[in-house]
Structure formats: structure tokens, C-alpha cells
Symmetry: C2
Subunit: 360 residues, 2 copies
């Protein structure tokens, strides 16, 4: 009775049960509880469940639990089975999960005969998600949260949508197959390629590797990720990942085997430039015309602050920033990315304030 | 007479002639002139030569010019021929060039019969080198400048070494073949791979591409480079580039064709992690133990400054910084990379000052 009343009184805060008390599940719990939701959380590991409850991720489930929404936050390889169990255990609940591959889980939900109550979720917390992070309620704030309806009822979709809205996410709706094809290309294959570029350094001496510039650091930054869930993700999204690797390998082969390697590489770079220009900048808009202003900054605490103070005096917003340290030198290069219309003024003012501009 | 006297009076500032008045040649000229060198500069394009002289990159060469050092700063495809011509034209001069591939030019120098007077150079100005940049004397400051002796005399090596020292570069000495093998892996192949990852986005809708996170942005940042000199570079360094692409393609194929794609990817990621750990951090040392502290920052001018002011109050040096804007949200995520021993204190102080920490 209490449960129904709560749900009826405030339909935007459905009674929610979370299965899985790891980083993702506990973070969702903390965020929802902070927003006033009635949340229970459980885990097959009783210690993990107890820990999550102790940090405010929800209460222990009581007998006769009747959630309106069940969030399955278990490892990707277990998600399909647990979603199916949840659909059968709570015939009145809408079930979602947080795995980063969606089609195999949607398929399992449909095969259970209750697909109309399943809505896939993919909260994209970004690279900080791996490693020994503590759960926190705002882990997903301002990040995309993809919802995959795949035949669910409008009511089910609306209920699941309440979660990312409460957590202040950027809600994106797409079908599971389209999601999986997209993340293969924007996330999974880039991880594989970055690792392959890094692995190719294996033939070099330490001195050779020290020639690395910012370009290599950028390309291989995600190659430092722990393998973690990648094995599961690759298995679940094998089809789309292999299709993407085929595309990449094909392009590399074309360069490798071309009669004129220069011409082939120019063609590939030109095609890549067209696609990079489509990666959104801020606020989902097309990339703005950005200019890099590189400043030589002494490598001491407070110098970056002084630089940014001088930038703020100009009233210019910094779109992006990159810091590059040169080996064996006591200075670093800080590149400020600003809208092109501001770049000349910024360069002039910084020069007047005795900053050394390395490239503008 | 004057020339000889000058050289004798100040052997660290050899009389220098630069062939090629583009960005690199003119920037070297400006930097050397600013350091008090006697520099002449020329270009097959008389307008470019005149422009470079007008911005202080050197004087016009006079008849009977007798330089101690000749710097060949022409496009890579022309470097070998111009180096050979310079060796023949000035039998008492030491010749260097600035092409980013070194073995084919060293070979041409040796075949001319004057290889003992040729020392290859590769000033690594980084990605900012492309695009419509104006020449400036400090373009190379604090950047690596590779010197490839390849059989030159000690005197020739010492003379060429004066250039990067005057320009305050980080001088690295290695043989041409080792240089070319290294840059294929740290620079040329990463460019090809980044472009191939970007090109694979071609099958996606704009909405799909909008799922891109910081990982894809990092991997594909250099894919936005203009094709420019890459065709020349690929042709000159074809052997080492193809060997590197073979390595990368082999690893991608292994993942693609594995019976267990998860296991194969885990193996590749683990091998990549070992190599990424070898990419030097600041001052050429091994990477320090760095922790990422991600802060939610309102996307307004001055907010980043306020954040860094609060960081400076703690006395923590920022090793690196990344700004990530989420589509359709008025806040951004700023990740501060600090030494791990400072991370807890930083997180505590920033939280006390009402910053929202997204991940620590």
C-alpha cells in the first residue's frame, strides 16, 4: 500500500530496486536517494550490498518488495540473465540495465516474453569509470545516458527515463542495434586501435619512445585503461566490433599496399578529417572554429593560474586546454583552444603581459 | 675575411645560410638572428625569401657567400637533392636539413662523397606546426631536436649542435635509421591509425557520432591534421611505416579472428599498457603515479580560473588537465591530473570550497 501510494503521489520518483552494488549500481543509488527516491539495493555479494547501503545507496530489500523500476547493474556478461530473472520475479515492474552493449540484452528480454517491460540503459560515465573509484551520486551528471526502447511500452520508457533525469544526465534515445553499432565505432574499436598503436612501441628502446609527442600521447591515452570489462564488451558486441575493425584494417591495408603510399595516406587523412569534423564540440553543436594558442609556461605551481588569470582578464572562454611537458626542460607548453575570433586579441594581450607565445 | 673572423671569434655562432624560407626555415632564422647569429636566407620563391628577410629571418646571400653551416629547410621530398647540391656548392660548409625522415637524406649525402660534412636534424615542433602559422624564433623552444651524425666528423656534429642549443631545444642524438624506425612508431603510424579510426565513423549518423566521449576525441585529435607533408613523409619512410602498420594490423587481426575475442582483446590491452607506461611524462623521467580529480565546472568565463585558484591555494602542481564538455549541458567536466599523494587533500579542499567532484 505504501509503495503504491508513493508511486501514485510522485510518479516521477518510482520505487526503485537496484541489483548490483558495484560502482555503477551504488552511484545510481546514492544519486536517486539524494533526490528523494525510495531505493533498495542488493548484490549477490552480501558484503558489497552492505557497504553500498552504508554509504547511502539504498535500503535492504524487504520481503514482498514491489518495485516499479528494477535497475540491473551487474557485469555485462551477466546482465541478460539477471534482466530475465527480474522480469519474471516482478511482473509489474519495468526493468532496465546499465551494460554498455544493448542488443543481446534486449534480445534476451524479448525472448522472456516480457520485452514490453524492458528498456535498456547505457549511462556513459566516461573513462574515469575504471579504476578504484568510490561510488558517488553525481558520477553520471552531465554525461550522456542512452535509453534503448526496443518495443517497450510508452509507460515503461517514461519510467526508466526518470532515472537519468533525476541524475541530471543528457538523455539520448536510440534503438539497441544502432547503439551497439555506434559504440563499436566511437568507443570499442578506438580502444582496440589505441592499444594496437601502443603495443607497436614494443620494438623501441626507451630513448626512442622518448621522442613521443603530444600526438602519440593523445592517441594512446585510453590504451592505459585496465582491461577490466573490455573482454565482456568485446564478446557481447563482437559483430559490430569486428565490422569496425574490418573497416579500420581495410584502410590501413590500403595505405600499406598502395603503389603510391603518399597518395593513399592523403586520401585516408582527407576522409578522416571529414569525420573528425562531425564529432560534436560543446553543447552538441557543430564544432566551432577553434584556434590553438600555445604558451611557454615555467613548470612551477601557480604559473598556470597566473596564465589563466591573464586570459580571464581578456574575457576569453577557454574551450579546451592541453599541457605538454618537454623531457629535460624546466618549462612546459600550455595550449589554449579558443574561438578563432578571440585568438588574435588573446595573443596580443598575453604577449603584452610577457608570456612567451610558442605558436598561435 | 669578415666571415672567417666572425666564425673564429665566436665558434658557437657559426655563419649560417638557410635554404628554404617556409615556416621552419624562417623560424630557425628568426631564432638564430635573435641570438646574434650572422644568418642569410634564400628560397627558390623570391617572394617567400623577401618576406622571411623582412620579418628578421636573415639577410640576402651575397656573392661569394661562405657559410660554415647550411640549413636545408625545404619540403622532405626535395631535401636529399638540395642537401647534395649544398655539399657540392660549399665544400667547407657543414650541411644539415630539417626533414622528419632522415635515412634517405643521409644516404644521398654519403653517395655525394661528402657524408662526413652532413649531419641530419629533425626539429620536432609538434602538431602546431601545420596550419597557417607565422614563423617565430621560439617555435622549437623546449621541443626535442634530433641530430643524426651517421658518419659525420666530430667537428661537423659540434657545429650543427650549436643550432638547437641556440634555439633552446632538447637535443637528442641518434642514428638516422633508428630515428626513422622510431618516428614511424611514435608519429607516422599513430597518424595513420587515428585517421583510420576517424574514417570508420563514416557509417554513423550525426546522432550516433554525438555519443563520442573524451576517449574518441583523444584518439582522433591528430586525425584533424591537414594531409600536408604526410604524403612525402610516408613515401620517404615507407619501409618503417609499413613495418609498423604490419604490427598494428596483425594485432587488430588477432582480435578480430580470435575464437575468444574477449581473451584476445585483454591480451592486446595488457601489452599496450606496458608500452604506454614507457611514454615519458615530464622531464624525461618515468611517469609518476598520477591521479585524476574530475570537477564539475559551470561553462562560463572565469570559472576555470576560480577552480585553479583554489587548487593553487592547496599548493598542488597540475601535471595535466582535460576539459570535457557534455552536449546540451551548461556545465563541463574539468579533470585535473595531480600526483597521487596530493589527490586526497585536493579533493577535500575543493569539496570544502563547494566544488562538485565528479570522480576522484
Amino acid at each position: 500500500m505504501t509503495t503504491v501510494q508513493r508511486g501514485a503521489a510522485d510518479p516521477t520518483r518510482p520505487v526503485t530496486h537496484i541489483i548490483g552494488a558495484g560502482l555503477i549500481g551504488a552511484s545510481i543509488g546514492i544519486g536517486l536517494v539524494a533526490d528523494g527516491w525510495d531505493v533498495t539495493i542488493d548484490d549477490y555479494d552480501a558484503v558489497a550490498a552492505k557497504l553500498a547501503r552504508s554509504i547511502g545507496a539504498g535500503r535492504a530489500p524487504h520481503e514482498g518488495l514491489a518495485p516499479q523500476v528494477v535497475v540491473v547493474a551487474v557485469p555485462p556478461s551477466a546482465a541478460a540473465a539477471v534482466v530475465r530473472e527480474a522480469l519474471l520475479a516482478w511482473p509489474d515492474a519495468v526493468v532496465t540495465d546499465v551494460a554498455s552493449v544493448k542488443a543481446p540484452i534486449a534480445l534476451a528480454a524479448h525472448r522472456s516474453g516480457h520485452g514490453e517491460r524492458y528498456v535498456g540503459s547505457h549511462p556513459m560515465a566516461g573513462r574515469e569509470i575504471s579504476g578504484g573509484l568510490a561510488a558517488q551520486g553525481d558520477l553520471f551528471k552531465a554525461r550522456p545516458w542512452v535509453i534503448c526502447p526496443n518495443g517497450a511500452t510508452a509507460e515503461a520508457i517514461a519510467l526508466v527515463r526518470c532515472l537519468p533525469e533525476a541524475l541530471q544526465c543528457d538523455v539520448v534515445t536510440m534503438e539497441a542495434e544502432a547503439h551497439d553499432a555506434a559504440v563499436a565505432r566511437v568507443s570499442h574499436a578506438p580502444q582496440v586501435a589505441a592499444s594496437a598503436v601502443a603495443a607497436a612501441l614494443g620494438t623501441l628502446s626507451h630513448e626512442d619512445v622518448a621522442l613521443a609527442g603530444q600526438g602519440l600521447r593523445d592517441v594512446t591515452r585510453i590504451a592505459a585503461s585496465e582491461a577490466g570489462m573490455w573482454a565482456d564488451i568485446a564478446r557481447l558486441n563482437r559483430h559490430a566490433l569486428v565490422a569496425t575493425l574490418d573497416h579500420i584494417i581495410g584502410d590501413l591495408d590500403d595505405v600499406k599496399e598502395a603503389d603510391d603510399i603518399g597518395e593513399a595516406l592523403t586520401d585516408l587523412i582527407e576522409r578522416g578529417r571529414v569525420e573528425v569534423a562531425r564529432i560534436p564540440g560543446k553543447h552538441g553543436g557543430a564544432k566551432r572554429d577553434i584556434t590553438a594558442v600555445t604558451v611557454i609556461v615555467p613548470d612551477e605551481p601557480g604559473q598556470l593560474l597566473r596564465l589563466l588569470g591573464d586570459v580571464a582578464d581578456v574575457g576569453v572562454n577557454i574551450e579546451d586546454i592541453a599541457i605538454e611537458h618537454s623531457p629535460r626542460q624546466p618549462v612546459g607548453l600550455t595550449t589554449l583552444y579558443v574561438v578563432t575570433s578571440s585568438a588574435t586579441e588573446l595573443t596580443t594581450v598575453l604577449s603584452d603581459k610577457n608570456w612567451e607565445i610558442a605558436a598561435s
